[in-house]
């Protein structure tokens, strides 16, 4: 589903963010992307989202070479990739429902279908009762879950998360991780960037490790690989 072939990314100021990265994530797989801050985790996710383009090598999403995706096609690619950030980027001028419905509005879905899907997504993250609330009225963990609901409401094939638990205490973090696991269990390919090693260890999933832009391990789950 996600494949990196010798991908390098050098920013215009000469900083090498990624160097010769190779890995493949199968459809329906769940993996963690770890490494110190500045190791290139965010850059890797940005390449998948086409927020950045690779300097060398090729990124393939679902057999599609991203180099060949034109600027005007990017929105349609992004509709099929859900993304969750450390800061959930909610819009405070509208309620929870409308925040989650945004990707569906963009896709031009009928209002009825939107309602159905939004409630399904909110139910999945356990916030159905808060659909009419302002995001401001929610706790940090709840806001993050609204962000996740928005990321999955479109039923994307791929879910990316960049430090999704960075602002949350351990108990809430575990909740969120469980949510990702549930989504994965219904077929979503999940890639989570985090430096929370303890959490990664608990999850017992495949781990991709970046160190100064190089991928030092990309093995399928091997016990103790990250100790």
């Amino acid at each position: 589903m996600i494949r990196f072939d010798n991908v390098s990314k050098r920013y215009s100021e000469g900083h090498d963010a990624l160097v010769n990265v190779n890995f493949e994530l199968a459809a329906g797989e769940m993996a963690f992307l770890t490494g110190h801050s500045g190791a290139g985790k965010s850059t890797l996710l940005k390449l998948i989202m086409l927020i950045e383009r690779s300097s060398r090598g090729q990124v393939l999403i679902g057999n599609r070479v991203l180099d060949q995706v034109t600027r005007s096609q990017i929105p349609y690619l992004r509709r099929q990739i859900g993304v969750v950030f450390q800061n959930p980027h909610l819009l405070f001028d509208r309620n929870v429902f409308d925040n989650v419905a945004l990707p569906l509005q963009i896709a031009g879905m009928s209002t009825r279908e939107q309602g159905r899907r939004v409630r399904a997504a909110l139910e999945r993250v356990g916030l159905l009762s808060k659909e009419n609330d302002s995001p401001l009225a929610l706790s940090g963990g709840e806001q993050q879950r609204v962000g996740i609901a928005r990321a999955i409401v479109n039923k994307p094939a791929i879910l990316l998360a960049d430090e999704p638990t960075g602002n949350l205490d351990p108990a809430l973090s575990a909740d969120i991780m469980q949510l990702f696991q549930d989504l994965n269990s219904v077929g979503v390919t999940v890639l989570i960037a985090t430096h929370d090693i303890a959490l990664v260890e608990q999850m017992q999933r495949r781990v991709l490790t970046l160190d100064q832009g190089r991928m030092t391990s990309s093995d399928a789950l091997a016990e103790g690989a990250y100790t």
Binding site: I51, N63, L183, G187
Partner: protein, 356 residues
Amino acid sequence: MNRRVNKPSAAQLSRTNGGSTKKPSNKKSVNKSQSAWFSSSVSFSSLVSALPFNAWVDHHRFSCVDSLKRLLSTPWQSMMTWLVVAIALVLPALLYLAFDNIRPVSEQWQNDTQISLYIQPKAQLIAIEKLQQRLSELAEVDTVELITPAMAQQEFQQYSGLGNVLASLNNNPLPYVLTVQATASNNTPEQLTALQAQLQNEVLVETAQLDMNWLRRLQEIMHLAQRVVLSLALLLSVGVMLIIGNTIRLAIESRRNEIVVIKMVGGTDGFIKRPFLYTGFWYGIGGALLALPILFIAELWLSSPIQQLAFQYESEYTLSLIDLNVVALMVMLAGVLGWLGAWLSVSRHLKHIEPE
């Protein structure tokens, strides 16, 4: 381009998954129909999914109404922009109005242009009347009027203020005059000049006089005025566009976060631009609507001195109010200008707002 379809079925996926996944333990979030969640078989092969037409219309309608609501929710701020736009529109509109009012007058003057034939002093009245008859049968000539010295003296006394001087003379020094009015189709300066030359050759005619110079000057002045109004209108239109563009730039800045999120979840540029384009449109329309009462007040204020002036020129002249077609045109034009200003601004600034 790789256009192979990649549609993993739910069954395939669960197979891929099966080995490493443990059953989710979370109680509430387990869906009754797990496979239904991933029912959207994902295809990256086609990256242009045309928006359904209905949805496109809906978003236009939504953007149109929502942008107006947003403007009305900050009335003072919006009013400032509307006022600036209104003032920029009133100026050329007022000039246009003035121009529009002067034009029929000048046309009337032009239609009134006649050739005055001053008859030899010794000519007999009968001969003059014969000439009048003959001239009025010419194709180019509409009417020929005879002004006797007595009539001329009376008129002269009435209007020139020199009546007493004339009255003090023993005999009337004024000659017979024939005034020749050309037909409407023979009314251009060139044709009139030709006619004048022809009439000058008549034996009885001492002088055939056609005062064209001032008419030509008036025509030139009218042309000049037209250009001034037009260039001013053009300049101020650009001004309106820039004002609205700049206001839109601020609106974009204040909604930066929203734009980033929309880009992130796959909003096209068109989707992002739409509300701003409508905002620009409403700024233009609102400004034009606000310009109307200002224009109306200005008209009322000007109409009285204009009537006084018209009275001095002995003309039954009333100021014509700006007509409804022009009003409609102005409002629409302002809307288009606002839209264009917003488009320029959005196209320029949207590129710099990308997810980070």
